[in-house]
């Protein structure tokens, strides 16, 4: 009887911890919708999403420039971080000798542990003046923000990709080498393709971090509500918009910030679905990998 009891309680206990996170997410989404929907109703869904003017004091709530801003910063950051991170993980997993890995791995992990406000301040004090001197403008720009983000998401991409590359069964590598392929050919044609689902996961995680990052971006992106004409123009991200104005917002303005949150949640869900689709598609067609 006691044996049965123990099994039962542990099973149910584990189930409970598992559904806790689901419940929390559900509660958050319900709350965001409850607070945000009134704004979507009063402003109108399309004029909210595609509106070009954000001037809460005049009752104008259009977040389109910020959607572009968020997507632009994220895309630029991924453009730089993915090649850098994936190549770095290949080096760490396949080429680097053990002592070097012992130094490199903790160094990269440290990057993940630095608080975002430190990145932001670093960007504000060093990167912004550098960009102003060398690229013109004010230095506050979409590009500056994406540079900071690149450094922030790099550790995620590197460590998750490295794990993916390492979990490829050794037999694959042995078989390839036994057939006479060189090390690079093995990496390029066997190990890397087999690890693609895991690498895509790393990109998804990096992207999630990039879209959600707030503080560092507030400090270097310039926070101007406009569709950037070039990557050197200042932009405002959706997350920044919420953080900047939440302290003062009342009434419709307050609801509009939650509606911004709704858009952000949907954006992340859509990005996740797209990324997951590629993740599974690759898994089937390549036929390799146990990820």
């Amino acid at each position: 009887m006691s044996k049965w009891n123990e099994e039962f309680f542990i099973e149910k206990g584990l189930l409970l911890t598992a559904i806790t996170s689901v419940i929390i997410i559900a509660l958050i989404i319900i709350f965001i919708f409850k607070e945000g929907l009134p704004a979507l109703e009063s402003v109108g869904f399309f004029s909210f999403i595609f509106g070009m003017e954000w001037a809460p004091s005049n009752g104008q709530y259009g977040i389109f420039p910020m959607i572009i801003g968020s997507l632009g910063i994220t895309a630029l950051a991924l453009l730089m971080a993915v090649p850098l991170g994936v190549l770095c993980s290949i080096f760490l997993a396949e080429i680097a000798p053990a002592p070097m890995r012992k130094i490199l791995n903790p160094t990269i992990q440290t990057l993940a542990g630095i608080p975002s406000v430190v990145y932001g301040f670093f960007g504000l004090v060093l990167l912004v003046p550098f960009m102003r001197v060398h690229f013109g403008g004010t230095g506050f720009s979409m590009f500056t923000a994406s540079l900071i983000l690149t450094v922030m998401i790099l550790p995620i991409i590197v460590s998750v990709s490295e794990d993916a590359l390492r979990s490829i069964p050794l037999e694959y590598k042995e078989a390839s080498l036994a057939l006479g392929a060189t090390h690079w050919q093995t990496i390029k044609n066997v190990i890397f393709p087999a690890a693609i689902p895991g690498i895509i996961t790393s990109v998804i995680l990096g992207m999630g971090r990039a879209v959600g990052e707030t503080l560092a971006i507030i400090m270097v992106a310039g926070n101007v509500v406009q569709i950037p004409g070039s990557i050197l123009d200042p932009v405002r991200a959706l997350t920044s918009n919420i953080a900047i104005e939440m302290g003062y917002a009342t009434g419709v303005h307050y609801n509009a910030l939650f509606a911004t949150g709704i858009v952000l949640v949907f954006m992340i869900i859509v990005l996740l679905i797209i990324a997951n689709y590629f993740h599974y598609k690759k898994k089937v067609t390549i036929g390799g990998g146990y990820l």
Partner: protein, 268 residues
């Protein structure tokens, strides 16, 4: 459930009830303050210190904005309303106002910027985008980079009330969310211009002379420096009892010392 838990629960229940009855005890005098979010921090400090010295007084400080402060005090909902702008004549009806301090807004530029003084109308033209090059105001031939605070910030609304006069600030001005980041931006960019409160002024940026008056505690106190706003306490009619005692204390040496500590220019 066994007895042990039952007893534990009972004890907790008793404690909760005791806290509530004690907390809302009738021998406490309650003062409610609400209004300007700019005044809120200093009002909170004043309240905390005052409550320390007068344990029988409870002061609640809330935000909501100057408008709310003026409205609720004239409706008698709260005891003291706070405002960070001068009252219009129709708002003054039946209200007593006490200036507990003044805040100066400093227009800051880079130390290497040769421009030393501007008039208020030049300032307005610069921030609204009519003047976009420093050479138009006697500086080098370079684009003016505006740095402003976020919508809703007290310093921003003060600046807009005092300078912009309902004209919109140029929409592509860089937005920074704190005085510190405004200063960093101005410190690094020789062609930037921004505004901060006098209290946060440091020698690493240059304060512009406005309409021929240098911003300082003295020029703000005597009213000659125009970019300033008062921090007001408002009461409905003549204050009496504990409310009067509190306001008198704030205007007295102890209160004014706290006001100075909070980097606000004291009244005298």
């Amino acid at each position: 459930m066994n007895l042990k838990y039952g007893v534990g629960l009972l004890v907790i229940l008793i404690i909760i009830i005791a806290v509530f009855t004690w907390g809302t005890g009738s021998n406490h005098v309650k003062i409610e303050i609400a209004g300007s979010t700019s005044v809120q921090p200093v009002a909170e400090k004043l309240a905390a210190k005052y409550m320390e010295e007068h344990p029988n007084v409870r002061i609640d400080v809330m935000g909501g904005g100057s408008g709310l402060g003026i409205r609720s005090v004239s409706q008698g909902i709260i005891d003291i309303g706070t405002s960070s702008k001068e009252l219009k004549s129709d708002e003054k009806q039946g209200l007593n106002n006490y200036t507990i301090g003044k805040e100066g807004i400093v227009v800051a530029v880079n130390l290497n910027n040769p421009v030393n003084n501007l008039t208020k109308s030049q300032l307005k033209d610069i921030f609204s985008g009519n003047i976009t090059n420093w050479k138009e105001v006697g500086g080098p031939d370079a684009k003016i980079n505006l740095v402003v605070r976020e919508d809703g910030s007290g310093t921003r609304s003060a600046f807009e009330d005092l300078v912009m006069n309902k004209t919109k600030v140029k929409s592509d001005a860089i937005v920074q969310t704190s005085t510190e980041s405004i200063k960093v931006a101005v410190k690094q960019d020789p062609y930037a211009i921004g505004y901060i409160s006098l209290a946060h002024m440091t020698p690493d940026v240059k304060a512009l002379v406005i309409d021929g008056v240098t911003p300082s505690i003295a020029t703000i106190q005597d009213g000659s420096y125009k970019l300033q706003r008062p921090f007001l306490f408002l009461t409905k009619g003549e204050p009496e009892g504990p409310v009067k005692e509190f306001i008198d204390w704030c205007l007295g040496p102890e209160g004014q010392e706290i006001v100075t500590d909070e980097k606000i220019v004291p009244v005298s």
